[in-house]
Symmetry: C2
Subunit: 249 residues, 2 copies
DNA sequence: GAGGAGTGCTAACCCAGGTTGGTGAAGGCG
DNA sequence: CGCCTTCACCAACCTGGGTTAGCACTCCTC
């Protein structure tokens, strides 16, 4: 099971070989994107559903005066909204943060998959419901938490999500974000992101260097940020996800 | 067409009489809620999909230390996520802000409706995609805009949404929110909400008294808050929605 | 009709985080 | 090779918004 989408869905349900094959067959149309390249731009006509296979990407919106807010991250296995093609135009952009491989699934294939395989369909809906839950938690994050809590919460979430697709190495994961991008995610200035990072390092909670995040004290980080993984709806979300089983990919 | 859901969906597509009847038949199980009463509480088992028929409600999350963030508002015609029943437990609460009437649609009825009526199904997906788009815009709102812009943006959005279900009176609408609730929505303190409201009033942009919001200068409010209605995906979103045609409900 | 709760509103003070303007180190490139 | 860009990091200063602590009004309710 090298398809990260299947790996992710396995957190919700067990899929048959036939369903796995159907998914693999639908994700053959793959394109590569360089770091900082847009996968889809705001205003584009909506097309197929995108699936991130490798790399790291984000959803973002720009204000007219140039301010940018990142509203979601995509880790491998993440789909952009299953039914976007119902809308006429994208109201936001999707951009590769690191070099990425993205599969495009046509509306027809989505409709066929969801028509033919009810279990798979439930699993796909689960993944979009989780995506919505994450968006709500991000509102809480920027609305209620201070800088330190916000950043700690984001790091906890990302570790859990990388674990869910087996892309963690223990409490470490690849996180190729600049401090400016972190700032645009957390609604802070890049200067303050720097200050906050230093504080997290000073408290020996994390290290973040050359694109690798290591959480040195997950429990403390969770406590500090009021992190409760329920919103990720991982069936094993009991605080000790199984990601630890398979370190080093 | 007194069902606000049908009124809302008519912004996306034209539904047949049969489809309208099917919707009306499915929304017979109605319960009333008092202001400030929870419709669903965090941790509850997920049940049927809820449809707000009358009143005003919100989705909110609490942090362990008591901080509360409102992450969405429901105006009549809004559904809570079409497929919640796929998840096991609610990761947030839904509460009535004003006295409200809420219909509950069973998972079976949802599956039946979406199975039998493709046009209706598309319309329902449209409404959930819009809801997600609103959540993303709220992240931008708290992440990038300052207090004045934030509040102005919220008021613009609410006017557009009330218009979409015909519940505006020109540029006025019923908005039974306390300043504390506004604060919990915008990620501000109630004191600063008060200051910000006064500033908007001083600039002759809005009035808000005894539960009624009146936007005195919509264009200025939109410009101030960088409001772009595209994310609401109303087909007539050309800046002058048709809500004006039918004033006084 | 007195007490209490909820709400709008205000003033005074304060601090978290923004802003501006840097430095230095690492990498890409002509 | 020097030049340019990008990024992490830092210091000084400033401000938007938080905090605390009130007052006034309305609406309950006993």
């Amino acid at each position: 099971m090298n398809n990260p989408l299947l790996r992710k869905l396995s957190n919700f349900t067990r899929l048959s070989d036939e369903e796995c094959n159907a998914v693999n067959d639908s994700t053959q149309d793959v394109r590569e994107f360089a770091a900082r390249e847009d996968v889809i731009s705001q205003g584009d006509r909506t097309g197929g559903v995108k699936l991130l296979l490798e790399g790291f990407a984000c959803r973002y919106k720009m204000l007219e005066d140039g301010r940018r807010q990142i509203v979601a991250y995509f880790v491998p296995g993440d789909l952009c909204d299953l039914r976007v093609f119902i809308l006429k135009r994208m109201d936001h952009s999707i951009g590769a943060v690191a070099a990425s491989k993205v599969a495009s699934i046509s509306p027809e294939n989505i409709l066929k998959l969801t028509h033919d395989y009810p279990t798979l369909t439930r699993a796909l809906w689960w993944s979009t419901l989780v995506e919505e839950a994450i968006a709500r938690e991000w509102i809480v994050n920027v609305g209620q938490r201070n800088a330190l809590e916000r950043m700690a919460h984001l790091f906890c979430e990302l570790l859990y999500r990388f674990r869910a697709v087996g892309l963690n190495q223990g409490n470490s994961c690849t996180l190729p974000l600049t401090q400016v991008e972190l700032a645009e995610t957390l609604g802070l200035s890049s200067v303050h992101v720097n200050r906050t990072l230093q504080e997290l390092r000073r408290q020996k909670l994390i290290t973040l260097e050359s694109g690798t995040l290591t959480i040195q004290d997950l429990d403390a980080l969770k406590e500090l940020s009021f992190f409760n993984p329920d919103y990720l709806h991982l069936d094993y979300s009991d605080g000790q996800p199984r990601g630890d089983e398979r370190e080093g990919n």
